[in-house]
């Protein structure tokens, strides 16, 4: 399998303390552990089980994902920040891998 690729979309301009939309997605097959492959062999469970966003090192949102979540999980949420800083995004895989991405937020 190709390496999962995370992607984050932030608005062009962000104002201090004004909520903005964060869109996130990671490519991942999200194998439920219930499906069989074309040879009839059960495909073992492998999902992104946890997604965490931190702002300047402080956890802003944590999402627990379940096997019913479809492939390439997409998470969108609103947040506000008081000043410029760094947003860190982390996706935790069943196999122990952690995929991360950080975005510098510049407040206008």
């Amino acid at each position: 399998m190709a390496q999962p690729r995370p992607r984050v979309k932030l608005p062009r301009s962000i104002e201090a303390d004004v909520p903005f939309t964060v869109k996130t997605r990671i490519t991942h097959p999200m194998h439920t552990g219930e499906r069989h492959d074309s040879d009839g062999v059960l495909v073992p469970r492998r999902i992104i089980n946890r997604f965490v966003v931190s702002y300047n090192g402080e956890v802003a949102i944590t999402v627990d994902l379940e096997p019913a979540v479809s492939a390439d999980p997409y998470v969108q949420f609103e947040m506000a920040v008081p000043a410029s800083g760094v947003l860190e995004f982390q996706w935790f895989d069943d196999d122990g891998s952690v995929y991360s991405l950080s975005k510098q937020v510049e407040v206008d």
């Binding site: 399998m1 190709a2 992607r7």
Partner: protein
Amino acid sequence: MSKPNGKSGLNRRHFLASAAAATTAVSALSAPAVLAQGRPRVVVVGGGAGGATAARYIAKDSEGAIDVTLVEPSRAYYSCFFSNLYIGGFRDYASIGHSYGDLAANHGINVVHDWAVSVDRDARSVGLAGGGSLAYDRLILSPGIDFRDGSVPGWDLSQQNRMPHAYKAGSQTQLLKAQIEAMPEGGTYCMVAPPNPFRCPPGPYERISMVAHVLKQSNPTAKILIVDPKAKFSKQGLFEEGWQRHYAGMIERVGPDFGGDKVEVRPEAMEVVIDGEATKVDVCNVIPAQQAGRIAAVAGITNEAGWAPIVPHTMQSRADENIHVLGDASQQGDMPKSGFSANSQAKACAMAVRGALTGSSTFPPRYSNTCWSLIGTDDGVKVGASYEATDEKIAKTDGFISKTGESAELRKATYEESLGWYAAITGDMFS
């Protein structure tokens, strides 16, 4: 159609119809001026699914009563339809190539291998790049598509060897296939998909399927990135289901929600810049925004969007009743830009042209289209519809589409149906 002198209620079509119904003596006396000078002349520009079909049907059905010239620069035609299957390894290159030889030998069509570069609508003649000109009573333009300059910043035709479009079949298709096969292990193939409207709506996504099919075997850690300005695309549910089934984790599509509508390319660095963020790629297949083939604009019959509006009953240009426009270049309404559509339109056009020039009977046209796509081995899907001519547009009357979750047997049957269609349409164009 205007009335001659603005006085008589008898226009040319009615005149011909009544002439055909009259006695032989009267009809001979009342033949229109163009016929008096000899056989009426039809010039067809573009030897694809629209032009080759129209030329063949006019020549065949008029049984020599109409002089047909087909202008096409290429000596061999490589079909865009099924060119993705060549990329995927399901067809060899020779099997999508066709010759114009039988059109001359079997139907007496004058095949001229040259570029049409000008149209004098008043004199009714077409200028050729080689210097000659061809007079016509009816001109049929079926020039396909050209690309819109500047639609993908950083890309122009001078970059097509570094970042191929492969959206006109031939050497570009061979180049893209060679580049995909030469990708480094774990490398990235990127497609910059076009905005609507464009040739073959499912085409880019069938190509993705075929690229994935090749890479899954030869380079399974390779990645496929689609940068797409469109929120949705043709047969999306079917393709996404198939991609998950056959190529899980390999394909990522970046739509406008993640900046797919704000893309530029840097051919020298082999970079794709999505919403300001540069990504290094190994193959970059840029399919730019499209418009009617250039000769349509040169003839002055295109609109602001770059397409040629037509009269749905006859495929005549809205701007010039002596010119018909077929296929991708036309703006006709609900039909997708496809080889099947162009072939269907060409038959209606051929009937209308013969009716106008020889008085043969005409009937309300019926149009149809089906677009097959191959997602993986024996996994074919299709979408199609029937259409009728209204005063406003070619309007869809009913349609059908493959369903998600279909059985492997049905998908295989759908694929085999597409093979039959390919043999039939290429026979309809070239035999």
